[in-house]
Symmetry: C2
Subunit: 118 residues, 2 copies
């Protein structure tokens, strides 16, 4: 199991927020494919970490990248493109992808920089 | 129940990624407080939407804001500050907050702009 929350370097870096709704909660190969994609993502240049959670059919995955170029490169990895196609054919009723630049990060109890309330 | 994925305007806008680990899975007032915070956030100037998912103790919430100023203002709302304190005292073992600017968004089946694969 990956660290949660994941540890990321000093901003700026890129975050890709993937918001998905499954077609149903049956697995149909989804869990194995998702685990494989996590493993494959972690091998890419510029990968910083990933965090996922799912409530029933509704899922959020945030992957962190050194820069937008490495996030874009991951999107184009052949095995990942195949999984994206399978996702649209079978697993997902809908999804959205938001590509963002992280400017500021803090945490509790320990954190990157002082907690704004402390 | 809020829309999931939530609908957001043309980028740029601000995303706040809140990654949390609960102390345990017992409720202890958490669900009611979380629902109240969702309701209160939605009343703030600049609020665009919110998405949450939780797998056991691990949770992700992404809130979307018109700009970083409105995200910062929400952080300082008195009732929200009280909930943040309660969160550190009771509900959360750890959390991280990442403030980001969304530059690009797309979705499937419908989406903001063409899907990069289509």
């Amino acid at each position: 199991m990956a660290a949660f929350p994941t540890t990321t370097p000093e901003p700026p870096y890129t975050a890709v927020v993937f918001t998905s709704v499954r077609t149903d909660e049956d697995d149909e190969g989804y869990a194995a494919a998702a685990a494989r994609m996590d493993e494959l993502a972690a091998q890419q240049d510029g990968y910083l970490g990933i965090e996922s959670a799912r409530s029933g059919r509704e899922g959020l995955t945030v992957s962190y990248w050194r820069d937008e170029g490495s996030a874009r490169a991951w999107k184009q990895v052949v095995e990942h493109l195949a999984a994206q196609g399978e996702g649209r054919r079978r697993w997902y009723a809908a999804y959205r992808v938001r590509v963002a630049t992280v400017h500021r990060e803090y945490g509790w109890p320990a954190g990157r920089g002082p907690h704004p309330d402390l």
